[in-house]
Amino acid sequence: MRIADKMQFEQVKNNLSKNRSQMSELQNQAAMQKRLTKPSDDPLAAARVLGSRIDLQSNQQFSKNLTYARSFIEYTDQSLGDLTELITRAKELTISQSNDASANQETRRTVAAEIEQLHGQMVSIANRKLGDRFIFGGFQTQEAPFKPDGSYRGDKGEMRIHVDKETFLPMNVPGGRVFLGQGVDKEGMAFRSDPQPKTIEELEKKQLGNTGDAPAEVRGPASVAPAVTNQAQTAEDSGLNLFRVIKDLETSLRTNDKDGIQDSLDALDSSLQQVILTRSQVGSRGMILDQLTQTLEKAKLNNQSAISVMEDADIFSTVSDINKTESTLQATLQTSGKLIQPTLLDFLR
């Protein structure tokens, strides 16, 4: 092959620039400790890194949500515990006053005063607040859900918290359920939750039912507020009203009505069952919470390691590549020096 001078210079130029650009890329990798600095470095990995990042971002929020829900659930559980103790105390008192051998009108009147106090305590438990939210008010968290006489101003709302991609965990127990027995079936065994819409379609259907109008235009102006659903107690709400149980007991005690007192004993047992049922539900939520927390922590770790595997530079291979490229560069420089120097002219003196 005929070699022209320009070929040699071009070749030297090309080779050097190729080596140098390789070197600068590796140097960049070593300095940033990243294999991926722009999407074109590895488009598939780049898209997957983004996916993992967004997962990580949501998982961090889910963790936060879990922590928040946990404090709510734990406080509810504690309050229900207090309620259990309160009813147990009432039951003890009732047992002691249920026969004429150990009790008389005098003692019953004294105990009635204590029961009245228990009633007050029960109202205060029912009106407990976490931060500035009443925990037993359903969606009505801004004002005390129970009046001193035990009537309910709250609703059946369950606050669901987004704790995982597909999971919404209810964190509150509406006071109407545990104190008034709303949504408890005839056997007193299970709670029936109001189904809440989970998708836009369900929401639209529900609101349609509420208003009887077509769903509001997405782009249109604000429409007239539709009427609120009726919160009245329905026939299926066959649980016990704890306040009434206590109140009845108090009345029976005051009137020295032994049969009434004995009836109250049964009612108190059922009340206890109703509270325990709620508590077990809250407890199982706590367990779900623990599981989810663990899963989330694991997922977060997985996200992080997936991101790291895809975008972090392997420092050993980078350094060894740098050494390789450097020696290539040296060789190129040396041979180039030799290649350019001699021409026939150098030997014609």
Binding site: S40, A47, G157, M159, I200, E217, V218, P226
Partner: protein, 476 residues
Amino acid sequence: MSRIWSMMDIGRRSMSNSQTALQTTAHNIANRSTEGFSRQRVETVSNQTLTGAGSLQIGSGARAGSVIRTNNPFIEKQIEREGGQAGYLNSRSELLARVEEVYNEQVNEGLNHSVGAFFNTFRELSNNPESLATRTQLKETAENLTKDFHRVIRDIQDVQKDADFRIATKVEEINQITKEISSLNLDIARIELHGSTANDERDRRDLLLKQLSEKVNIRYAEGETGMLTITAGNTAVLVSGTSRRELTTGTGYGKEGPGSGNLEIMYQSTDGGTPVNVSGQMVGGELGGILSVRDDICQNLQNSMDEMAYKLSWEVNRAHVQGYDRQGRTGNLFFNMTDDKTNYASRISLSDAIIGDVGRISAAAQKDAPADNTVANIISNIQYKGIFDGGKTTIDDFYNALVGKVGIETQRSNSEATVQRDVLAQLKNTRESISGVSLDEETTKMIEFQKAFDASARLIRTADEMLDTVLNIKRY
């Protein structure tokens, strides 16, 4: 006697031939690094023999026939064609690198992050719908999201403006080149009229042709007089013999009326004719590469961003209007919305009601339920809902796939450009191998011609001595 004279004559002409050859060698050496130069050789031919006495055929020396250039037209043509492809890929990958920067979330937090933050804040709202602080935070995050959409669109438009600037420069360069080619056309025709070859002019014109082809897709043909006719694209005749027409640039008719669109390439076929938009014909060379990024890739990306912003707003609004705000009002919009999808990403904004009062954010599905978070939950779950491609793709997947697509496009054109550069370098190598100047070779030739010159001089001296001898015969 006549033979001695003839000897002297041959020697004299030979000396002159050697000088011509040496002069050409000097020309070669001087043009050793001239781009596009082909080495030249003097073609010497032996003179017609004179018929001497009897049957003797006695030669009468040599003469310089012509100066020719060593050149392979096929390779030149190939370089011109591959150069066009290289120009296309180079400019494309350069511009794509800028597009990629818009979507580079490896280093910075981008739209992906803003979208995630937007939904996370809805989750935060769902934790505590009563809190004004959370609502304010949501408003800020949502405003950030809209700003990020605007930023992406602005960045893409900046790339398009950069493309416009590059196009204007390229068009200017093309006009410079065609100007020189048309004047070279005239030179070549004039020189070759007398039967010789316009070596240096042709070298220069070949080089210019290659440069032109690197900038834009051209077709050309050489006429009988050696003049080139060059057409850019399909119809824009740039050079025809000695006349030429320039390309110009003009702002097209954009969405906001005349003067608002991108720069278009115009061609006027006759003086006073209507300038025609020929941008669509420029599919090769650097111009083609720039236009493909500006008009296809950037435009598609803008459309995708519009779709993404529109679908997001649509879904959020759809849930939000069903909800109730703090004052028990329903039917509130979260984002402002119109029927017109075009340019939505650059217009997306929060509804004025929410900007004015964060209490208007509707988290509840029923009236006067301050802790009701049903709607907030539904909105936060839109993140995991397939709202694109007929319900198959979530917003995150949609965006990540977009980033992946940009990455793949950039990666592909980078590697194609590298390959093409190597192909071109190889071809240029081959060309240099045929046409390039080698000092070693020229030095050898120099010695060769010098020796020939010496020998010719010696011949004349010998003839002179012979003449002396002849003239001195009488003395003895």
